[in-house]
Amino acid sequence: MLVIKDLHAKIGDKEILKGINLEVKPGEVHAIMGPNGAGKSTLSSVLAGREVFDVTKGEVTFEGKNLLELPAEDRAREGIFMSFQYPVEIPGVSTVNFLKTAVNEHRKYKGIDPLSAGDFLKLMREKQALVQMDAKLMNRSVNEGFSGGEKKKNEIFQMAMLEPKLSILDETDSGLDIDALRIVSNGVNVLKTPETSTIVITHYQRLLDYIVPDVVHVLYDGRIVKTAGKELVAELEEKGYDWIKKEIEGK
């Protein structure tokens, strides 16, 4: 589904991604771990199409299409969803109105008729139940006054509403207590299908106890330096990242 070849990206004069290679097949869950500053958030921003980063080299193909050619909104409409680490607030714009616009934009892109107000509300209630989202938050402005946990739940709720092919969860666990973590993870798991894929970016093992990865990568200094199965997670938790750094310097 997603093929990244030798991806280099910088912000201003600073090169952050120094040759990323990654392949994600339908139905797979990939975890990307690594120390701070490795480029994990940069990778997700570049995939999502944030213009503040410049891609200097490499290719990214999504479902056979050249992703780097598409503007951010088209990448989203093609089926890429990013759950933000720090979801921003949009005062004055209600969550309902925001999501209705988003859902209908996706439908328009695919050539489907927009949802009527009634059908949209039905969809919303269905998805709210699915991911245990508090209905009271719907009429508030997007993320305005939401607690950390509510913001993250709102991200997963939006994911449920938009039904993406590829979800990128950027440090979804940061700022969550144990219960919120469980609810958010449950939401992600419930939405998984053999056709959809997930990239989970995180520091910690705990989230990966709930959202179990098929493949685990370590991102260090702008490159993926190690790829293995889920047993790597426990090893990292035990040994930390220094072990990896030494391994690389040793080579």
Partner: protein, 492 residues
């Protein structure tokens, strides 16, 4: 006759298609000129020109005297320069002060110039459809002369007078004489004097005692012939216990030369009367380099003459190269109240110095000012407000909120609030906020599949919601459309 609910639904459905068409269109849609023969007086202003205007309109002697007094006073005045505006010098002798399409008054609607009718259709106000469906009486002003007034007969049954100002001068001289200039004297300011001397036409509306006007009254403006200033004059009188809601909506064609628009609106509300005055203004704002565009210098004022009277101003201003106006209310009657809700957008090189004045004279009077400014491009948007409480005014209450939203980093937003409170029992509150649309907010919307243009539209409409909700529904729809279109290309 027609059920009001059904009318509104039909009007709404029509507008939805318009929205899609207009938003995808983008360019200033009303940029065209009608080739109707217009009869113009040569350029320049003199006592002879004033007399000629009055003669052409077949005005009575007292009207001519009013104009002449104003003109002579205007000659003694200088252009005011205190506003925070960069204004080119206007040569008042280089302006045409009268242009009327050749049109005889006694024609039937069927005999009206087809090109004229076509102009109205292009502007989106097919009068036939309006007459048959919307239930809104429309007084269409075309280049200084009212072309058609509809529903006169229906309103007349209730004793409501709604006609062109020129007609009112001839058919209702007592009423006009009684109230003209009582709220905005020709001495008030430079442009008021000019308007009082050369005003072309406008609307006159009179609601008798105890009558609630059953439909929204609407006027439609257009500036056409090159170098013609539009000098509208509107007078609205609401007697005791009456109610009227009045809509003013304007468009103008694309021109290179700046065009002067110096209008006067006077409103008088008697005991327990209520007047709602709503405006959607999108005069040609000038091109992206700041060339051309309308100069909109307007004096709008309401007098809450009666006890417990109420005047509400609601405006969405997106056009004009320069906007200079302060819809204001004099709260004379005890217990009277006034509200001012405004969204003013400036983009590219537009400038606005606008706000409101609330003058508290009667006891227990209340006023509310909610001003939302949106600046983009290289524009300059200033709020200027005055809340004045007279020495003997007891129990006055005011709440003012002025918010500025900045798009990009080359525009400016400024606030000049004046509070002049002379009585210790008054409660006056003022709040102000400044905010930006962040790149991270736009990216968040992008990542959900919403384009940047639409995201700005969503965010700006959310910001202006409080004001737009105060408008009559038909206008609210056009206002939302306008906000989005006027901010196109302002991403940053």
């Amino acid at each position: 006759m027609f059920t009001f609910v059904a009318l509104k639904i039909r009007y709404m459905a029509k507008d939805k298609d318009d929205i899609i068409e207009d938003v995808t269109g983008g360019e200033y849609k009303y940029g065209f000129v009608t080739n109707i023969e217009t009869e113009t007086i040569g350029k320049g202003l003199s006592e002879d020109v004033v007399r000629l205007i009055s003669k052409k309109k077949e005005e009575p002697e007292w009207m001519l005297e009013f104009r002449l007094k104003a003109y002579r006073h205007w000659l003694t005045l200088e252009v005011p320069t205190w506003a925070y505006l960069d204004m080119p010098e206007i040569d008042y002798q280089d302006v045409i002060y009268y242009a009327a399409p050749k049109q005889t008054e006694d024609k039937e609607w069927d005999d009206v110039d087809p090109e004229l009718k076509d102009t109205f259709n292009k502007l989106g106000i097919p009068l036939e459809e309006q007459m048959a469906l919307s239930g809104i009486a429309v007084d269409a002003v075309m280049d200084s002369v009212s072309v058609k007034t509809t529903f006169k007969e229906t309103l007349a049954e209730k004793g409501i007078i709604f006609c062109s100002f020129s007609e009112a001068v001839i058919h209702h001289p007592d009423l006009v004489q009684k109230y003209l200039g009582k709220v905005v004297s020709y001495r008030d300011n430079f442009y008021a004097a000019l308007n009082s001397a050369v005003f072309s036409d406008g609307s006159f509306c009179y609601i008798p005692k105890g009558v609630r006007c059953p439909m929204e009254l609407s006027t439609y403006f257009r500036i056409n012939a090159a170098e013609t200033g539009q000098f509208e004059r509107t007078l609205i009188v609401a007697e005791d216990d009456s109610y009227v809601s009045y809509l003013e909506g304007c468009t103008a064609p694309q021109r290179d030369e700046n065009q002067l628009h110096a209008a006067i609106v006077e409103i008088i509300a008697m005991d327990n009367a209520e007047v709602k005055y709503s405006t959607v203004q999108n005069w040609y704002p000038g091109n992206k380099e700041g060339k051309g565009g309308i100069f909109n210098f307007v004096t709008k004022r309401g007098l809450c003459e009666g006890v417990n009277s109420r005047i509400t101003w609601t405006q969405v201003e997106t056009g004009s190269a320069i906007t200079w106006k302060y819809p204001s209310t004099i709260l004379k009657g005890d217990g009277s109240s006034s509200e001012f809700y405004s969204v003013a957008v400036t983009n590219n090189h537009q400038q606005a110095d606008t706000g409101s004045k609330m003058i508290h004279i009667g006891n227990n009077t209340k006023s509310t000012i909610v001003s939302k400014g949106i600046s983009a491009g290289k524009s300059r948007n200033s709020y200027r407000g005055l809340v004045k409480v007279a020495k003997d005014c007891k129990g006055a209450r005011n709440f003012s909120q002025c918010d500025s939203l900045l798009l990009g980093d080359e525009c400016g937003a400024h606030t000049f609030p004046y509070l002049d409170v002379q009585n210790p029992s008054a409660m006056v509150e003022h709040e102000a906020t400044t905010s930006k649309i962040g790149e991270d907010q736009l990216f968040y919307c992008n990542q959900r599949g919403i384009s940047t243009e639409d995201a700005i539209g969503l965010i700006v409409n959310g910001y202006a919601k409080e004001v737009i909700n105060k408008m009559p529904m038909e206008f609210a729809v056009e206002a939302q459309k306008l906000l989005q279109i006027s901010l196109e290309g302002s991403v940053g």
